[in-house]
């Protein structure tokens, strides 16, 4: 039942956003403009343009930086929790990681806005602290807990007999981790990273608050950007239902949906070891 209802909901959501976006896709939509023009000016009175390149670049740059933060952080944490910590320490850390995962994204956005912003301005001597660096860092911290949890599960799935065998052959704990545990749990670790990327693409509120929300093709991490998700969140309430602008936002939604769907599907296939040699 649960499985069936999940499928029905997914298909329902997809049909809904497609239905709302389709008239735009079939009419005003210009695929070249959408993917190559950085000009997102849907509210222009005379000449509205719908180039999503800057938004895509905004989402990609923030997510990319987030992964640079989150991957080492979460894999390191997972290895520590899974392979080194014991007893109480381990339980406490696991609860803390789960607590981190439960922090609402608007709270993260608030941290970006009120703590990271002045900090970045002061540390790097730049005029604006709401930029790729801020949003990427915040998003990295947000994605890390869930990635840690999944990565730790993957490490835990490696049978202890492997570790014992390798240690009996003279391996130190680090050698066991590097030569046996990580190769054996590779699929799960890749899945953890992919799910983190999916989380990054989909995150809205924190990115809206921390990225500066200005349309820009970023050339450095100190540029403000605007994300796909944040654009939808900020503009949808202001549009007339059924207008080109309204439908263009749904087109962004379709695009996001497809990307996260592909990422999650890949993660799932990797977990199942479809790519097994």
């Amino acid at each position: 039942m649960g499985g069936v209802s999940a499928i029905i909901f997914i298909i329902g959501i997809f049909i809904f956003i497609t239905k709302e976006g389709l008239p735009f896709l079939l009419g005003r939509f210009d695929i070249v403009e959408f993917f190559t023009s950085p000009r997102w000016r849907p509210t222009s009175e005379h000449n509205p343009t719908y180039g999503a390149l800057a938004l895509i670049a905004g989402t990609a740059s923030v997510t990319g930086l987030a992964m640079l933060v989150a991957v080492p952080f979460s894999l390191g944490a997972a290895i520590y929790i899974g392979e080194f910590a014991t007893g109480r320490t381990r339980e406490i850390l696991k609860v803390l990681v789960e607590l981190l995962a439960a922090i609402p994204s608007v709270v993260w956005g608030f941290i970006g806005l009120s703590i990271m912003n002045p900090l970045i301005i002061k540390l790097f001597n730049v005029p604006v602290g709401l930029n790729v660096l801020n949003a990427g860092f915040i998003l990295g911290l947000m994605a890390a807990p869930i990635m840690t949890t999944i990565a730790e599960d993957a490490l835990k799935a490696v049978p202890d007999t492997y570790r014992e065998a390798a240690e009996a052959l003279g391996a130190t704990r680090w050698q066991v981790i590097r030569r046996v545990v990580i190769p054996a749990s590779k699929n799960g670790l890749v899945a953890a990273v992919l799910l983190g990327v999916g989380r990054g693409f989909g995150e809205t509120m924190a990115v809206l608050m921390a990225s500066g929300h200005s349309i820009n093709l970023p050339t450095s991490i100190f540029d403000s950007v605007r994300a796909l998700t944040a654009t939808i969140a900020a503009e949808l309430g202001e549009t007339a239902v059924g207008s080109d602008h309204y439908r263009a936002l749904f087109t962004l939604g379709i695009f996001l949906f497809l990307i996260t769907f592909i990422i999650n599907l890949t993660a799932d296939l990797v977990v199942r070891g479809i790519r097994k040699k």
Binding site: T161, Y162, R163, L169, G170, A171, T172, Q175, V180
Partner: protein, 261 residues
């Protein structure tokens, strides 16, 4: 260092070895002299401490954080519980075969060369050196002809008997002095048991072998000396024939006649 001090006629010498799991004492004052180059078997009922003893000879017991050991174990005259001891070196010298075959999730070739690579540390192992070592080790365990065409395959896909032979083969490239075997045939069928026992018999002389077994027939036919343990203590340690024919202790006699176990 192979042929000087007289102490080295002994492969393993323990003095007042006591071991606790938390508050439970598993070994009491174990004093054993295990001779070099022969097969010594350890028998006794479940929970008598034979596996615990075996696992303290390469210190793999310490993986469990709550183990405490006192006394000493000398392997070829060196105290492996000394303060300056390198665990990696201990395990190079003292190889272990486990109850269930536990090949690593790597190819057959990488399983055999794993310990050797560790022993070489940062030095690279060339392909020709690697192939030579792998072939030699696999020949020694009579596995070469069966697996030579599929060295890249995963070791986990081999039969249990072949896996256990592989687990013995991977110990050999680092030239250990002692091989510890913890009921190495208990997961195998009679044919596999026979093949692995035969192999163990072949390996004696070059290696000192200490084998824990539940199977008294196996102890009797496959070992030269035999140790009988009960409740964490060594009851008797004599040549195998003697232990089975004229046991000195009543407990030993009761056990080998199957009155408990």
């Amino acid at each position: 260092m192979d042929s000087q001090a007289p102490a080295e006629a002994l492969a393993i010498k323990t003095e007042k070895l006591n071991l606790w799991y938390g508050t439970f004492q598993a070994l009491y004052d174990i004093d054993l002299d295990i001779k070099r180059g022969i097969i010594t078997s350890m028998i006794g009922p479940s929970g008598c401490g034979k596996t615990t003893f075996l696992r303290s000879v390469n210190r793999i017991n310490e993986r469990l954080g709550y183990v405490r050991t006192t006394g000493s174990i000398l392997v070829l005259g060196h105290d492996i519980y000394g303060p300056q001891v390198d665990l990696g070196k201990v395990r190079e010298q003292v190889g272990m075969v486990f109850q269930r075959p536990n090949p690593l999730p790597l190819s057959i070739r990488e399983n055999v060369i794993f310990g050797y690579r560790l022993a070489k540390g940062t030095q690279k192992v060339s392909a020709s050196e690697r192939d030579e070592i792998v072939e030699k080790a696999l020949r020694e365990v009579l596995l070469w002809d069966t697996v030579k065409d599929r060295l890249d395959r995963r070791a986990i896909d081999l039969s249990l008997e072949e896996q256990q032979k592989l687990c013995i083969a991977r110990l050999l490239p680092v030239k250990p002095a002692v091989l510890l075997m913890d009921e190495p045939c208990s997961a195998l069928d009679p044919k596999g048991t026979e093949a692995v026992e035969e192999l163990i018999w072949e390996l004696r002389g070059e290696y000192t072998i200490l084998i824990v077994t539940h199977n008294m027939a196996q102890a009797r036919r496959a070992s030269e000396e035999c140790i009988f343990m009960l409740l964490g203590k060594v009851i008797e340690h004599t040549p195998t024939e003697e232990l089975f024919v004229t046991p000195a202790n009543q407990e030993t006699a009761d056990y080998i006649e199957g009155r408990y176990g």
